[in-house]
Symmetry: C2
Subunit: 380 residues, 2 copies
């Protein structure tokens, strides 16, 4: 038993609930590191595959290790038998996040030993889920467009293969790189709600599928992963770059939130945004979406002038929205993209939790009556 004080802290704010060797956030300085490496360096030099290896192994791979890891991941690109039929049975009206949560849960029923929880087995399951989730999302999006699924191409990296399965044609290098940076920058972020959810669920010694399924359910909430949709909706609402000033000033006057600005954790510039910003510009130019980019830049400029001194800066969602739009993703696929990447973080945290587990079992403060008699029906 610990001697922790039994005071109620709403939302567990300020409470340390786990230890991790994966990511470090300094919100005041605007620092995000994965295993000590600045996120900006990873966004510049690394790939998603290498970043996942880093998060799961707490060090960068050698060339041979990365090749072997990439090979294992690619061996999981294809869906287990029967899963395509399951994806096809989803109503085309379904929100992709409900679909994704259901299909990742269903993967457990296509695994002969879904409950294995050794650290070794958990790594195998993590690779399986991370490897084939892009195929689930791509197959569903094609299904609702009335198109046949495209089989994965194991000669392609994680990001290129996803875009290929989604669109049926190989993506440009700029698209692939921009998408890969989105994957790198969203892979892990301390004990956010969905990551915490995954650790809480695995702490009953449940299983990887239960933990990742639960985390997807958490991520879909508008107070969490759902936020990047809001940026795109806002950009669509503003008719032209000339209308930006009025739009932003009106919102600020009404004390409404400008989507894509500020973050509960960061009080400085979001370190994930910089590299994406550069790429968003190139991508917007390549795909004829410069109006979107210039609107974004105009919003950023006005916000800097008006509220920059208050520590409100563009966050990672602000530029990932433009990126996803330029790649041709529909709005309701933005949060699933977040999930594709964050599976790396969730499963890494599950592995950490399994390595030194203690059941999460906090207390509730009961604030109702006591010693109430059971009144028979006729006397109520």
């Amino acid at each position: 038993m610990t001697t922790a004080p039994a005071t109620f802290v709403k939302g567990l704010e300020g409470i340390i609930a786990a230890q991790t060797e994966m990511s470090y956030i300094d919100g005041v300085q605007g620092v995000l590191e994965y295993v000590g490496i600045a996120i900006g360096d990873l966004a510049k030099h690394s790939t998603f595959e290498e970043t996942v290896f880093l998060l799961w192994n707490k060090r960068l791979p050698t060339k041979g290790e990365l090749e072997s890891f990439t090979k294992q991941l690619r061996a999981n690109y294809a869906l287990p038998e029967g899963m395509i039929e399951r994806v096809r049975s989803v109503p085309t009206s379904a929100e992709p996040m409900h679909m994704l949560r259901t299909m990742v849960s269903a993967l457990s029923m296509h695994d002969a030993s879904p409950n294995e929880n050794s650290v070794e087995a958990a790594r195998v399951k993590a690779l399986k889920i991370l490897g084939c989730t892009p195929a689930i999302v791509a197959a569903f999006d094609r299904h609702r467009r009335g198109l046949e699924p495209v089989a994965p191409d194991t000669s392609l990296g994680f990001s290129a293969n996803f875009l290929y399965m989604l669109n049926g044609e190989k993506p440009t290098e700029a698209m692939t790189r921009a998408f890969d940076i989105c994957m790198i920058t969203h892979a892990d972020h301390g004990l956010n709600n969905s990551t915490f959810t995954a650790r809480v669920v695995i702490s009953t010694l449940s299983d990887m599928y239960s933990a990742i399924t639960a985390a997807i359910g958490s991520l879909r909430g508008p107070l969490h992963g759902g936020a990047n949709e809001g940026v795109m909706k806002m950009l669509n609402e503003i008719p032209s770059v000339d209308a930006v000033e009025q739009y932003v000033m009106d919102k600020l006057a009404r004390k409404e939130r400008i989507m894509g600005f500020g973050h509960r954790v960061y009080k400085a510039k979001d370190p994930r945004a910089a590299e994406l910003m550069t790429l968003a510009e190139q991508l917007a130019r390549d795909t004829g979406n410069m109006d979107l980019y210039t609107k974004s830049k105009a919003i950023e400029k006005i916000m800097e002038r008006e509220v920059g001194s208050k520590g409100i800066y563009p966050n990672v969602d602000f530029y990932s929205a433009t990126t996803y739009h330029c790649i041709g993703l529909k709005l309701d696929l933005f949060t699933p993209m977040f999930a594709l990447s964050r599976i790396a973080g969730w499963s890494g945290h599950v592995i950490e939790q399994l390595g030194d587990n203690r059941l999460f079992r906090p207390k509730a403060e009961y604030v109702g009556p006591h010693n109430v008699a059971y009144t028979p029906m006729d006397n109520r």
Copy 2:
């Protein structure tokens, strides 16, 4: 910002993470109350339907209110269109908890507005999930036995209807009552791991389906709902009542755990066990399972003699196992039974959380390196 101390408490033990008006536990005195009413009184006098009304409304219903509530619940007994096909598509080898988690998640895709989160809408969704989950479990169990599903009978209460859909014949009164008491006594239990999971997930303003799906994933872990299976396995391991003494003493000598004894929360007699014990005897007699019951009583007697002074007593699982076995449930349906009942608690907590929400976002303590350079591949 709060001033909570930033010390790491493993498993959040002793930390208060939520307030509730639903259940109160005093583990030292062996007290469990739902909205102030002793669990023993509810087990004696109430029904599952009335208990759910109590938990969701924080008071007992009038006759008219209970009738109306029961009617609404029964209107949800039948699965939404398309769900039976989904249940039938599950591999017959699937563990029922993986099936249940996947099917409850899939229910969201059969709801035209799954994301509605007003307290009013959440109550409607809770009734929907609670009402039709028995049909999911029953249909799947019949599917794997090669039998057609049995349509619900809306003239029957929750427990009788489930047993009817499962077995295709109306249960005896003793069976129904014993099962109903299992449902009453498992409906809520403070901030256990799955209930906490549900509150964490809904705090992103996600949705009822995501929260209940996540909770099912938590419950299936052997450190949580998976425990009642262990009691039955133990009873099956002991060949006869004469072998009990040797079995228990050997286990104790090896310092192994006797399943169904002791509880992280209760240091006194588990207040949920008493009423069940009486009924388990009658049921065992009725169904020709008295050997099971006498073995249980013999284990209890030896444990009382050996470790009773240490506060180790039979818990609720010890007698619910006999009950479920006598009713004819297969071992792997024991944990799903726990889920059927606990959906009442989970959804009640979701409704409480929505009424006064704050995003759960604890901190992680980063224990890895800092300022690590990104070493190019060739230099590793």
